[in-house]
Amino acid sequence: MLPYLFRRLGAGIVLVFLVTGITFALTYTADIPVARNILGPQATDEQIAILNARLGLDKPLWEQYTDWLGGLFHGDLGKSYFSGQDVTDALTSRLPVTLSVVVVAMIITLLASTALGIASAARRGWLDNLLQGISTISFVFPGIILGIALVYVFAIELRWVPATGYTKLADDPRAWFSSVILPAIVLSIGGIAALAAQVRGSLIDELDREYVRTLRARGVSERSLLLKHALRNAAGPALTTFSLQFISIFGAALFVEKIFALPGYGSYAFNATLQGDLPALLGVTVFGVLLVVIVNLLVDLAQGWLNPKARLA
């Protein structure tokens, strides 16, 4: 088990170097005029040259990258060109915001899609058709429209939740929940449809298998048959879809955080990309790659727990 874990983490670290190297090269070749954008339209060429030198942007590409790598080895991701804030501090303060929204969205996705998938597979008939129709609509329905509609109804008209901003869980759990629930619903809509379809399909396959007929013949109750046996066996493919949903939702948080003005990882990544804020962008990349590696690892471990055959593989 341990060698497997080390191997996966080692691959993750190699991935960090590869992806950051590519990000660095792409950003460099994009040639975003960072100093000019920081100083504004009234800046003179001399002021821009001074700021470029101060930020180290006048150095050759390889030197900038090795400087950054040197910092990385010491746990220093550098400072944002635009905010002056330490990138590690920025990301560690922003990641909980995004994870709050993403985790709540994943819980909603998991509960809703499992319920819909089970109901569709077990009942079939009109309920199946209805739920599949709802799933299809939610799959194609743009989340941004839903976000605007939810903000209008619950934040502006009813004033039940804030339209923008974030409250820390530790500061006020109820305010925290109200600040993340709308973005989480927006993020979960597409995922619910995809995962419900996966759960439904896998469950139908399982329910048609011989062991189910055998268990049914032995008098095992339908509820036990469905939830204890078929669902567990159907969970493997659904779990893979679930992990993909996590990555997808994590990526979509980028836009949702902008709509709801959440100070999260996504809005940080969005601004860093637009501004060409290289230290911030590379920090985002490192954190993002590590997060994806860890989530995939956890899903693989969960797969092994659910299905012992997967452990051997």
């Binding site: 975003i32 009234q42 502006i156 939740v161 974030y166 109820r174």
Partner: protein, 515 residues
């Protein structure tokens, strides 16, 4: 059984609605209370909630490069300040005077002021900050005329100029005139933990860098009574729809208003008003030597461009009430702006065609201009149609806003359409329209240099006429083809009063509780 399934579904929906409704007491927080995220009124203890589009980058003196200067100039006092009418007023400098030839400014520092670290605000501290601003990457341009700053005694600072600069006092009322504690002036900690003597202090506990900035009133500030809010919370919201939602849901108390959006805000909950003119929109005709487009070297062609521009129609149809037509780049509130010039080069297609023919361009010419989504795109078809009438064929080259300034500075375009914010003074407007990207081809003339030198050196009571002469030269030589100026609008919550200042987003003095 089916009923049970439906009932369960209904129960889930009800549970979700209850979960959302459970947020009510904390969520909107819009009807009172001085907690974060809500607004309130009541003088000394009230909280003002504002949004800022760009998080501040660096609070060090000379390094501020954020968007609105609210935050910076709340923490730091400036040497002088600007009144709502744009007049220079005392601030740290209780009195000030120029020598006879305007090359030496003497500042007399107010007694008894201290920074929030208890260091005295004396002449040495002022001189140290001004020297830092003079070297500062964000402010050196505004203090370019300053050749020396010296504290001659404990309460006197002498600023020596290499040449008279009519914009110096306005610069000393801006971020370039901010004064910070000399104890931490060079310290990196000032980047995010500034120490000034301004009306507010940056509350580190209530601040999340890049997201929320909280100010607490500094009761020791000499002018603390002009700042009635005890707490001011800035939320960083870069998305305009999110700003609108925050305003509508009561999370922020004030916002600029885009033209045509007035109807979104119910009259019983919000106050809508006219702000100050903010920026001039128009075409900067950069290539006046004809390097890329030879035709632009001919003043008759530049005048024809102005004559072909139907400003009234464009402002009416595309400006949605937010653009006032003008043919001048100078601030309409300034003394250099001339009502007599307004009819000069007003829409006259026949005259435009005649001038093009006289210049030898009766068949017109082609020109490439940068196209930026959401900024120029609104006006492009109008320009195509109107300039097409005199044979000018425009190719719009799509570029990103991030690349815009660099591509202009690299002389890729002989002319471009943009908005340029008013500087607050006539000298500042002249400088702003003839430097950096607004003069990317480094074009000037001896006549212009002479006019500017004369204006800067003129005694204060004669500067208005002198800068009006510069403005007349701009119009006569058609250096620009202005379209109009953006007349800002604002919206506030009912319990807030906002008095539009001369320059937007400089200080928090314009805000007060309604009661």
């Amino acid at each position: 059984m089916k009923f049970k399934a439906l009932a369960r579904t209904g129960a889930v929906a009800v549970a979700l609605a209850l979960a959302l409704s459970a947020c009510t007491s904390d969520g909107g927080d819009s009807d009172g209370g001085d907690s974060e995220g809500g607004n309130s009124s009541g003088g000394g203890t009230a909280t003002l909630n504002l949004a800022t589009g760009t998080p501040p980058a660096d609070f060090r003196i000379g390094a501020w490069t954020g968007g609105e200067a609210y935050l910076f100039l709340s923490v730091y006092d400036t040497v002088v300040s600007l009144s709502p009418d744009g007049e220079v007023e005392p601030n740290i400098a209780e009195t000030f005077e120029y020598n006879a030839d305007n090359t030496e400014l003497t500042l007399h520092i107010r007694d008894g002021m201290t920074f929030t670290d208890d260091t005295p605000v004396d002449a040495a501290a002022v001189a140290a900050s001004l020297n830092a601003s003079k070297e500062g990457v964000a402010t050196s341009g505004r203090l370019a005329s300053v050749s020396g700053v010296e504290a001659t005694d404990e309460s006197t600072v002498v600023v020596t100029l290499s040449a008279p600069d009519a914009g110096l006092l306005a610069a000393l009322a801006s971020i370039a005139g901010a004064v910070g504690s000399p104890e931490v002036l060079e310290d990196e900690s000032s980047q995010l933990e500034p120490v000034g003597s301004g009306p507010y202090t940056l509350d580190q506990a209530g601040t999340v860098v890049g997201s929320t900035y909280t100010l607490q009133r500094n009761g020791d500030n000499w002018d603390a009574d002009s700042y009635p809010f005890s707490t001011v919370v800035f939320q960083v919201i870069s998305d305009t729809t999110a700003v609108q939602n925050a305003m509508l849901s009561g999370q922020i108390d004030y916002s600029g208003l885009q033209a045509g959006q007035e109807s979104l805000y119910p009259e019983d909950q919000f106050t809508i008003g006219d702000g100050a003119p903010q920026a001039v929109a128009g075409l900067w005709l950069l290539d006046r030597a004809g390097t890329i487009v030879p035709a632009l070297a001919d003043v008759r062609v530049r005048q024809a461009i102005n004559l072909a521009l139907d400003r009234e129609t464009i402002a009416e149809t595309l400006g949605q009430g937010g653009v006032v037509p003008t043919n001048q780049v100078m601030d309409p509130r300034g003394d250099a702006y001339s009502e007599e010039l307004v009819d000069e080069q007003s829409f006259d297609l026949d005259r435009a065609k005649d001038l093009m023919a006289e210049a030898g361009y009766s068949d017109g010419f082609s020109v490439t201009m940068p196209s930026i989504q959401g900024l120029t795109t609104t006006f492009e078809s109008a320009f195509d149609q109107q300039f097409g009438e005199i044979g000018i064929d425009i190719t719009w080259e799509p570029i990103t806003f991030q690349d815009f300034q660099a591509r202009i500075a690299a002389r890729n375009y002989p002319m471009f359409f943009f908005f340029n914010g008013y500087a607050g003074t006539d000298s500042g407007d002249v400088q702003a329209n003839t430097s950096a990207i607004f003069n990317a081809f480094d074009q000037t003339t001896p006549e212009f240099e002479q006019l500017v030198t004369t204006a800067n050196a003129a005694p204060l009571d004669q500067q208005d006429d002198a800068f009006r002469a510069v403005n007349e030269y701009f119009v006569d030589q058609a250096w620009f083809a202005p379209l109009g100026y953006a007349q800002g609008k604002f919206v506030t919550a009912k319990d807030i009063v906002f008095t539009p200042p001369y320059i937007t987003a400089q200080t928090l003095r314009p805000f007060a509780p309604a009661d």
